[in-house]
């Protein structure tokens, strides 16, 4: 798990390529980082290697789907036997139509599991936004945050500026960022 970064250096890039290079460099240095940007392109994702090597969403989706399918079979068979009425000259457990229900429940539970695991691993929903986050990161700027001890901040600031950052600033002593929701 990545650390919670409260202190570090943040940079804002206007150019995606420069940002990508800077982020790669920071990542290679072994520093804990977080990157922001308005676009989610897979190329960058592949380069930047997500934080956990195995993405868990797939596995959860599979498990959810399997659960849904088996639950549907169990439900249909149990309910049919619990209220056993003959209809249309068909046996009480007429499995062919039950398959349809299994399929739908498989997809349904797989989707639930997929969403649930995504939310869990993305740590969503969040009431607060990270201190490093700036609104322009959602519009047309790319952000890079590097967690570092205050003594190293100066070096990182210089490096980031050299790598083409438009703006570089330090984040200090802010345990949490601003609230995502306005307070009333």
């Amino acid at each position: 798990m990545p650390p919670d970064y409260f202190v570090g250096v943040c940079a804002s890039f206007a150019d995606q390529k420069l940002w990508r290079a800077a982020t790669l460099a920071a990542q290679d240095s072994g520093q804990a980082i977080e990157a922001y940007g308005p676009v989610a392109d897979e190329a960058t994702m592949r380069l930047l290697r997500p934080h956990s090597p195995q993405n868990p969403v797939r596995l959860w989706t599979l498990l959810g789907g399997m659960f849904g399918g088996f639950a549907a079979f169990a439900m249909t068979i149990w309910m049919s036997r619990d209220w056993p009425l003959v209809v249309g000259g068909k046996p009480i457990v007429s499995w062919p139509p039950f398959i349809c229900i299994c399929f739908e429940m498989t997809v349904l539970f797989a989707s639930f599991a997929c969403m649930g695991s995504f939310l869990a691993y993305a740590r969503l929903p969040q009431l607060t936004l990270p201190a490093a986050y700036r609104p322009e990161f959602a519009v047309d700027h790319f952000g890079l945050f590097i967690a570092c001890a205050p003594p190293e901040a100066e070096r990182w600031q210089q490096q980031l500026t050299a790598e083409g950052a438009q703006q570089v600033w330090r984040i200090e002593n802010q345990p949490r960022g601003r609230l995502a929701l306005p307070t009333f």
Binding site: P2, E34, A35, Y36, G37, P38, V39, A40, D41, E42, M45, L48, P50, H51, N55, P56, V57, R58, T61, G65, M75, T76, M79, S80, D82, L85, V87, S94, P97, F98, C100, I101, E104, M105, V107, L108, A110, S111, F112, C114, M115, S117, F118, Y121, A122, R123, L124, P125, Q126, L127, L129, P130, Y133, P135, F137, A138, V139, D140, L181, P182
Partner: protein
């Protein structure tokens, strides 16, 4: 050479993209919009009044009568479910195929899917003789342990449609979360609260994006077979029966193709005005619309093949009931809707073979509306003619439209339009994150190509 539509986005800056897409959401609604909304709400009111009358007096106020026990309501149900189909299809399948024109339509068509299911889902309830008992068709735990009949195609339908609605909602909503985040950052007051809640605290960090991409592709992968299964099960409402004209193996692929066909037409019908009123011409280009028109030609030919195949099968089977049912479908009391449907669904889409029609907004709009009409009539023809002319000629009878039935249909269109108008006012109609990705990719491409001197001066300049 890349397509013009692929490098065209290179002209925009990302901020321009945000401003243009969010302008309709952030600007106060125009008078035209309010009038449209009022009209839609009026239609809803008509539908509510008609349904109220039907609930109070009984199903007798509708046109359904023995032996045509289903008519307009189930027609609307299948029609709206059909409309719902191409939304997710465009969004999910085009995502899986990495189709370039996907972002232009995906958001609006996903919304269309959700609203169409929400509309379609009304009809199984309001066509019930005892609508206030609608929950009996769900397998809810009850003290007497009476469960539902899992052999009934209607129960299969309930599972299919509720799953489809749920999964589509998840897909649509999670896809909008990044855009809501941007709206949240720009908004003030209660809108900030609204979008703050809706955006779930999204900041577009790597930690969020990595599972998000996985989620999106998985959901797309799950939704694609779901799309096919849902209309398959809707078709089984008919195909699992015993009636000539319904009891057919070809129904699942035929219905799925028909659904996609009608859905594509509905996307065109909705997107062309959207593009016009909200000035999305830059993002929804003629190339994009033309791509849809081409898809319509494909699905139309599948539908045409199905029509022909139905008749061939009826003739080739030698079964007297099948032959009579299909003969009377074309030449019985309902010959007008049948032939109108055939013209609208088989002949009119052939106009898209002409480039001039494909690239004319008027042409696209007219053809798409005619296809909508044709597909509505197709469901009506399948349902009503089959029931009107079944096995025993002594039990033949006709259905006639009543104002209550028409009112409820109008109400359903009003309901759909209301939802859609609220959507365009409160949510971005285009997926900004994806449009921005395409802009960046186009810029990259232009850079690469111009470095190799593969682009004309004019193009580079434009970019």
């Amino acid at each position: 050479m890349p397509l013009r539509s692929e490098i065209e986005p290179a002209r925009f800056t990302l901020r321009e993209v945000s401003d243009e897409i969010l302008r309709p959401v952030e600007a106060p609604p125009s008078m035209r919009y309010l009038l449209g909304l009022a009209f839609s709400l009026l239609c809803v009111a008509i539908g509510v009044a008609a349904w109220g009358r039907q609930l109070y007096i009984g199903m007798g106020v509708s046109g359904v009568a023995w032996p045509v026990m289903w008519a307009m309501y189930i027609t609307c149900f299948v029609f709206w479910i059909g409309i719902a189909h191409s939304g997710t299809l465009i969004s999910a399948i085009l995502y899986l195929f990495r189709a370039k024109f996907r972002p232009s339509f995906s958001r609006a068509s996903e919304a269309m899917t959700i609203f169409a299911i929400a509309t379609a889902g009304l009809f199984p309830i309001l066509h019930l003789g005892r609508a206030w008992r609608f929950y009996w068709v769900f397998p809810y735990p009850n003290e007497r342990r009476i469960w539902v009949n899992f052999r009934s195609p209607l129960v299969l339908d309930i599972f299919a449609i509720s799953t489809y609605l749920t999964v589509s909602l998840i897909f649509w909503y999670l896809g909008m979360v990044p855009d809501f985040a941007e709206l949240r950052d720009r908004a003030l007051g209660w809108r900030r609260t609204l979008y703050g809640v809706l955006s779930l605290g999204w900041v577009g960090s790597l930690r969020q994006k990595a599972p998000f991409l996985k989620l999106y592709i998985l959901l797309a992968g799950l939704a694609t077979p779901l799309v096919l299964s849902v209309h398959t099960m809707v078709s089984w409402d008919f195909a699992l029966s015993l009636l000539p004209g319904w009891h057919e193996e070809i129904f699942p692929p035929y219905f799925v193709a028909g659904a996609i066909f009608s859905g594509l037409a509905m996307v065109l019908t909705l997107v062309i005005p959207l593009r016009h009123f909200f000035h999305f011409e830059k993002h929804i280009t003629m190339d994009h619309l033309e791509a849809l028109a081409k898809l319509i030609i494909l699905t139309s030919s599948i539908v045409a093949y199905s029509y022909a195949s139905e008749y061939f099968t009826a003739w080739y089977s030698g079964d007297t009931y099948e032959r009579t049912a299909y003969f009377l479908r074309a030449f019985g009391h309902y010959w007008k809707p049948f032939w109108l449907m055939s013209v609208c669904n088989v002949l009119v889409p052939l106009l898209f073979f002409f480039r001039r029609v494909r690239r004319s907004l008027v042409g696209l709009l007219v053809v798409s509306i005619l296809i909508n009409v044709g597909m509505f009539l197709e469901r009506l023809v399948i349902i009503v003619t089959t029931l009107a002319y079944s096995f025993d000629p002594g039990s033949w009878g006709l259905w006639h439209l009543t104002w209550v039935e028409a009112g409820i249909v109008i109400g359903s269109f009003g309901w759909f339009m209301t939802l859609f108008l609220l959507f365009v006012q409160f949510a971005p109609s285009l997926p900004m994150a994806e449009v921005k990705r395409d802009v960046l990719e186009a810029k990259d491409m232009v850079a690469t190509l111009s470095a190799a001197h593969l682009l004309s001066e004019e193009t580079v300049h434009a970019a």
